[in-house]
């Protein structure tokens, strides 16, 4: 019954028990440690990648009111991740103008990664893990060399996975509050609009909600709230396309549905991960090179976790990701593993907690001793090597030197890769005259800016990315052939050359 009390009866102040803040101190403390490791040498390692430059340039376009991309936005990915990036990526460059653009962008990612680490802890606790196990989950995630490598880079997947963790945490709301479930739906939608592939692991959130509302009178309402949040926030993306007249494919314009068809159908696969020499195989090898521990232990824990009720949400997420990676002939992106790591870490911590929780006294201490010994002898040496590399390597020196060189030049028409694009624009080059190398041959609008073809270009900056697929881009090939090196930086395998274009045939 609901009682209307117009005059509140005098109540004695209830004596408040001192609030237990151990969770707060523990999670914030550990997150600070991991964040320090993540930030240390963030500009030097790993090598700036093309994708990072792309997303950063798109964030720049959002910041400067030039739409969702500085070239025609063709719905390749939903834009929410770089819209979020745009909110923060202007700040580091303001404080330290000498940084190259990608390095500044990486620093802007740190608050996001901090949120991700805290959320791993929160999700662990809300799944019913004891404090120490949630802490193990956070550390397994944060200290993995894979995280210390890819967590530093500017990837859409990082945004998506943090929002999905938020959705999981909300779906596991201890109060089972209706609006928490609606917020879980909204967070899931933001995750999908940050990187569409995260859609695959939405079932994990549904499993979490299903479990959390078991034997509750409000289950149908909880799912109604979740669906509302998900659909209503999610629909803004197709709505945007619709309002621009770009929802359906048609002559002479890009379209959302056309882009989805391309991503699902036309994109060439990267082969099976079991087939030596395939793209997928070498990608998995590179992940294993950085950190085999979290991948192997994570797969084992995910499979075991499927049988344990409270681990099922994260295990479902992990299992779906494993199955998708195993499908033959599909496309496996390089940053795929970013989405996998937190779920593997939570599964590992969960299975560990479950095992130790079920054992009797002597076996329990034996298991703890075994875990400690394994951690010290198997995990620690491998992670030490990987983490040390992350903290000390200086792989971006050539990019820094090239950016400095370009800054000192008077503005001209220059063809660069995605990493250096924003550095040139920041240095005062007219944005229309700094050109991504592959847009020369693939974007008719860019080609129209150069009526004289390659002869209208003054310089081309040749980086490994530009030389990656020789011969596939005719204008780029012509530029490389008809230019001479005026400056070069870096070692042979990562050589960056500033090449002046020779307008007259030799």
């Amino acid at each position: 019954m609901t009682v209307l009390e117009l005059v509140k009866p005098a109540q004695e102040e209830p004596v408040q028990a001192p609030r237990d803040r151990s969770d707060l101190y523990l999670s914030v403390g550990l997150t600070t440690v991991v964040l320090a490791l993540l930030a240390w040498n963030i500009t030097g390692f790993p090598t700036a990648s093309d994708d990072e430059g792309t997303y950063l340039a798109q964030a720049w376009a959002v910041q400067h009111g030039k739409g969702l991309a500085h070239y025609t936005y063709w719905y390749d990915h939903p834009p929410l991740a770089w819209i979020q990036l745009a909110a923060g990526s202007w700040l580091p460059g303001l404080i330290a103008p000498s940084l190259i653009a990608v390095a500044a962008g990486r620093i802007a990612m740190l608050p996001l990664q901090a949120a991700g680490l805290l959320l791993v802890y929160v999700v662990g606790r809300r799944m019913g893990l004891p404090r120490w196990a949630a802490a193990v989950g956070l550390l397994t995630y944060g200290l993995s060399p894979l995280f210390l490598t890819m967590g530093r880079q500017i990837y859409l997947d990082s945004f998506a996975v943090v929002w999905l963790l938020a959705a999981l945490a909300l779906a596991l709301s201890p109060r089972k509050h209706l609006w928490h479930f609606a917020a879980a739906g909204a967070a899931a939608a933001i995750a999908v609009l940050s990187k569409e592939t995260i859609l695959l692991i939405l079932p994990a959130v549904l499993v979490a909600m299903w479990q959390n509302t078991a034997r509750s009178t409000t289950r149908p309402w909880a799912f109604g709230a979740f669906a509302s949040g998900l659909v209503l926030v999610g629909c803004f993306y197709p709505l945007y396309a619709l309002l621009r007249g770009e929802l359906f494919p048609g002559e002479g314009h890009v379209s959302l549905i056309g882009a989805v068809q391309f991503q699902l159908g036309s994109r060439s696969g990267s082969g099976s991960i079991f087939e030596a020499g395939s793209g997928a195989n070498s990608l998995v090898r590179s992940w294993l090179y950085y950190d085999s521990v979290i991948l192997v232990a994570g797969i084992a824990a995910t499979i075991a976790g499927l049988a344990i009720r409270r681990l099922r949400p994260v295990s479902v997420a992990g299992a779906i990701l494993i199955l998708v990676a195993l499908r033959p002939g599909g496309y496996l992106p390089a940053m795929y593993v970013v989405q996998v790591l937190p779920f593997f870490a939570l599964a590992v911590a969960g299975v560990l907690a479950w095992t130790i929780g079920r054992l009797d006294r002597w076996f329990k201490w034996g298991a703890i001793a075994l875990a400690v010994v394994l951690a010290a002898t198997v995990v620690a040496p491998r992670w030490y090597v990987g983490d040390r590399r992350a903290l000390t390597a200086n792989d971006n020196a050539a990019y820094v030197q090239a950016a400095e060189y370009l800054r000192a030049q008077p503005p001209s028409t220059v063809v660069v890769d995605d990493v250096l694009w924003l550095d040139c624009v920041n240095a005062g080059y007219p944005e229309q005259r700094v050109i991504w190398f592959y847009k020369l041959d693939l974007d008719t609008e860019v080609a129209a800016r150069l009526p004289g073809g390659w002869r209208d270009v003054d310089y081309i900056v040749s980086t490994p990315a530009v030389r990656q697929d020789p011969g596939t881009l005719p204008t780029v090939t012509a530029l490389l052939e008809n230019s001479t090196v005026i400056a070069s930086f870096g070692p042979a395998d990562g050589l960056i050359e500033i090449r002046q274009v020779l307008k007259e045939p030799q």
Binding site: T2, L6, A225, S228, L232
Partner: protein, 423 residues
């Protein structure tokens, strides 16, 4: 940015905020499992200490009156009397009333209302001097009252020391027509959820029936306002502002079952009367005597919100149409879609509500009912806004007579087995 765009953004934000608050409040009972559990009657202790006088105004209600009284007589509570109030110009109903009174001598009293202008509050005031019970309960002639209700109410009065107990009322004949489905759900959300929020926040417009008031409290308040078209709402406001303690409880099993108006015109008239009644209560200003600022703001908002709600149901879809066709800048167009979010969420929750409604009342909800719900929501919003406009117009031009809703007994068939209803 043009002025039109600024106006569109402003209107969209206001509408979105209003729709979001309404949604937030409508979903009050389902916030957490604990809130939901807190809306139920506490189980009775089996003791009976209070006596009830149940007022039953009946005007041209020959079709349903007898059945209603029969149900009331089946009550498990020992201490109650039924006072049927009939008009002096309505011999048919009087005849039925006298006949049923003979069947239960001592339990039933028939009182004749000699007021020239007949309406429900005047009928109730006519009966007030005859009341002998500790508690006055009000029912309508077409109500199906559960036999266990009085025991629960007795216990609720004693357990909470309340002055007023409001029980649940539910329209049940959702299958009758497209609008009755909407109407049933409206009641479901109001009594199941929203009213509890009002009780908690300190301002409550009472319902028209299944409302119980201690007789002395009611007499001190001089009964009902004979000139008000929403005498129930008015009574709630007056008792709230005098510091009465109000308890709201809802149990699907012992809720009072009613039927929807028999036609869209009847619905329109009924809704016009309510809206106009709300306006009258607002103008009377009794709510200004509520003890807290928050309760006064809630009163102001509640009494005006039927109008806002009715209009936003029409304006939001229109705004969207404008946004799509008027070639607004994409950003402005996206903002104009904001009010659609709470509105669509409301619809989503109505779908869940229809499912829950079917489960609570053991009714079979089929896919076409869900389709009717979705398709009918805009026409229903049109009906409500028309009623709101009529109410404002009638109040403005001084037409304050009582447009009565007639009842045919459609909800009685709803108690047949679900398969029969669906067929």
């Amino acid at each position: 940015m043009t002025l039109a765009a600024v106006v569109m953004i402003f209107v969209s934000l206001v509408l979105a905020a209003f729709a979001a608050v309404t949604l937030w409040w409508t979903m009050h009972a389902w916030r957490t499992p604990e809130t939901l559990a807190g809306t139920r009657f506490a189980p009775p202790d089996g003791e009976q200490h209070l006596t009830f006088s149940l007022l039953l105004p009946a005007r041209h209600e020959t079709a349903v009156l007898e059945h209603t009284v029969e149900r009331l007589l089946r009550s498990t509570h020992e201490g109650f009397e039924i006072i049927i109030i009939v008009g002096h110009d309505d011999p048919e109903t009087a005849e039925v009333a006298n006949r049923v009174a003979l069947g239960a001598p001592g339990r039933i009293l028939v009182v004749t209302d000699h007021n020239e202008q007949k309406n429900k509050p005047r009928a109730l005031n006519t009966a007030l001097p005859y009341v002998r019970g500790d508690v006055v309960g009000v029912f309508d002639a077409e109500d199906q009252v559960h036999p266990l209700l009085l025991e629960h109410v007795d216990h609720a009065f004693r357990a909470t020391d309340a002055d007023v107990v409001q029980g649940g009322v539910q329209l049940i004949n959702f299958h009758s027509s497209w609008y009755s489905l909407q109407n049933c759900l409206e009641y479901f959300f109001w009594f199941r959820s929203r009213l509890h929020l009002h009780a908690r926040k300190g301002f409550i417009p009472l319902g028209g029936n299944t409302v119980f008031v201690r007789s002395d409290v009611l007499r001190r308040a001089n009964g009902w306002d004979g000139t008000c078209l929403a005498e129930d709402c008015d009574l709630g406001v007056r008792l709230s502002s005098r510091g009465a303690k109000v308890v709201v409880a809802y149990d699907a099993t012992i809720v009072t079952r009613e039927e929807t108006p028999g036609s869209v015109t009847a619905l329109l008239k009924q809704r016009t009367r309510w809206h106009q009644g709300f306006l009258q209560v607002l103008r009377k200003g009794e709510w200004r005597r509520l003890p807290t600022w928050r309760a006064r703001m809630l009163a102001r908002y509640t009494l005006t919100s039927p109008f806002l709600q009715a209009f936003s149901g029409v304006v939001i879809p229109l705004g969207v149409a404008v946004a799509i066709w008027a070639q607004l800048p994409v950003f402005v167009a996206l903002v104009t879609f904001l009010p659609v979010l709470p509105m669509a969420a409301t619809l989503m929750f109505q779908i869940v509500g229809l499912h829950d409604f079917g489960r609570q009342y053991d009714l079979r909800i089929r896919w076409h009912h869900y389709a009717k719900l979705v398709l009918g929501s805009f026409p229903y919003a049109l009906v409500l806004s028309t009623a709101a406009l009529r109410a404002v117009w009638r109040e403005y031009t001084g037409k304050r007579n009582w447009e009565l809703t007639t009842h045919v007994g459609a909800h009685l068939s709803a108690t047949r087995p679900a398969t029969e209803v669906a067929a």
